[in-house]
Symmetry: C2
């Protein structure tokens, strides 16, 4: 491995912009900055804010920059270094981000989507170190994934691999935005946990008093986090809304284990903070869904919100 | 690629033993033999019959043998060249087949299971030539699969990858032997198509007259092939039994496409001869299950029953 090269990582998230500097072969930040995305931003303004962050960081060190890696919160054509679009910020359509950065910073750049970057980050610096194969799954606003096979990212023929969120596991399940029924994301993501709890509270006025109280009787304020909080305090309706999510995710993981037989599943994202009972159901259903001969671990991500940024360092390290 | 090496392929199938000779880099048999498995066979007798086949083949050529590849119809530890067991023939438990063949034939040997071998065979010599990634699926007595990613077989951490047959796609579906409900194999394999048709004929005495007639009114003689034949001739009950199978397989393929984003799916096995209507439903449901951004083809296998034997040649070629 090339030693002591100065690497820059950039993370264009849905709600925040982050940048970090690290030396190759060293798993700690030399410098690290994060700012919230401006509410009415566009691609150009996000890029300029990011370049300011980068300049600030680079001013703190003496060595010259060797390479830059980027995690982008949206579909990316990694082979061509092209952002396809952002679901949150306008102006990113078909943006040649790799080329733009190479011209601006004068060093090689690599770009990938946040799920792939987080998979790389956890594999090289986090809960997947030493694994020849793993699947990283983020369970948050959406459900996405990244695959490490033979120690390398498997991106798929079109960069679309890892889409466990739209694995259908129940043809009679609720309708997903993608048009199918019973997708893992439709069952397991944070916003749908909250929606399910709200719908059940409306339909069952005699239940969920604890969750209602936590929400100040304003159902609109209910989030997945609040559902998990109520479940932990013994609210049955809240727990059942969470259990549906855990079962859907467990089926998705078990099916993925049968198909790919990876050593480990690494789970990140806000919903994974829903408590031990949620983890127990995920693990139990995944185990029951996988064949007895297929073994795996399911572990929490180690790098938290920094996983994509560490993945961007890994992308830069490999240039 | 090493040229002009003489390669031997052996296929220990559930009901037949096959052997073939080919030269590296040449996609045609120099010699080829197949015999049915004796009904009361065991590992030792199968091995001796196979060695006779091999000797017969080798007597027809002058060049010395360079390597031998094996497809085995049951779970294999490919890394260690070990057969785990056979579901059909006793005596195979933990049999070190690679070592046995290397000692007996004096050349390097490689062993893999039949789904992986067929995937390799179709990739190198059949319907998957030129693909960087593909999933091979056999739809027969069971449903199994093999994955080619980055031009190479992905076997999984324990050699268990490709088990699309036990992907659960319907939690309210029929109970599978594995203990889960709604597995792809439980919906789509040949014996279960026949069982479904028989059950429906028993429950709905006014329907399926065409299928009943084809079976000579003896429901026990109904096979998936007969169901497909009746469906092709316009029997609605037969077609519905087949459609359930096609839908289950289509969901499994669409989910696999979302997870792996391979270029192509190659489908082999007896059930794939069920007619264009079956293919249409498989393709339509797979397309509806996959995300719009995920593209793929679904094509019939090109090598038929010889796919595992050609895969064994590919295994030998790579030694």
């Amino acid at each position: 491995m090339k030693q002591e090269r100065l690497l820059l990582a950039l993370d264009f998230g849905g709600t925040k912009l982050s940048a970090g500097l690290a030396k190759s072969g060293q798993a700690r930040w030399l410098a690290h900055r994060r700012v919230p995305s401006p509410s009415a931003s566009n691609a150009q303004s996000d890029l300029e804010i990011m370049m300011e962050l980068a300049r600030d960081l680079l001013d703190t060190v003496k060595s010259p920059l060797a390479a830059v890696g980027v995690s982008f919160g949206g579909p990316v054509d990694a082979a061509r270094g092209l952002v396809r679009l952002s679901h949150h910020v306008p102006g990113w359509e078909e943006m040649p981000l790799q080329q733009w950065l190479e011209k601006r910073l004068g060093v090689p750049a690599a770009v990938d989507n946040d799920a792939n970057a987080a998979a790389l980050g956890e594999h090289r610096f986090g809960a997947g170190q030493g694994c020849n194969s793993l699947m990283y799954i983020t369970v948050s606003t959406g459900v996405g994934g990244g695959l490490i096979l033979n120690g390398r990212l498997w991106r798929g023929a079109e960069g679309m691999a890892g889409e466990i969120g739209h694995m259908a596991v129940d043809p009679d399940g609720p309708l997903c935005l993608c048009g199918k029924r019973g997708c893992v994301e439709r069952l397991a993501s944070g916003p749908y946990i909250a929606q399910r709890a709200r719908e059940w509270l409306q339909a069952q006025p005699e239940r969920g008093s604890l969750l209602r109280a936590l929400a100040g009787n304003d159902l609109e304020t209910i989030s997945a986090q609040l559902v998990a909080q109520a479940a932990a305090q013994g609210d049955d309706l809240a727990w059942e809304a969470l259990e549906v999510a855990a079962r859907g995710l467990g089926m998705g993981i078990g099916n993925s284990a049968n198909l790919l037989n990876p050593e480990r599943f690494v789970l990140g994202g806000g919903v994974t903070k829903a408590g031990e009972r949620w983890w127990d159901v995920v693990r139990r259903v995944a185990r029951a869904t996988a064949l007895p001969q297929v073994h795996f671990e399911i572990v929490p991500a180690a790098l938290g919100d920094d996983a994509p940024l560490w993945g961007a360092i890994a992308l830069a390290e490999d240039l």
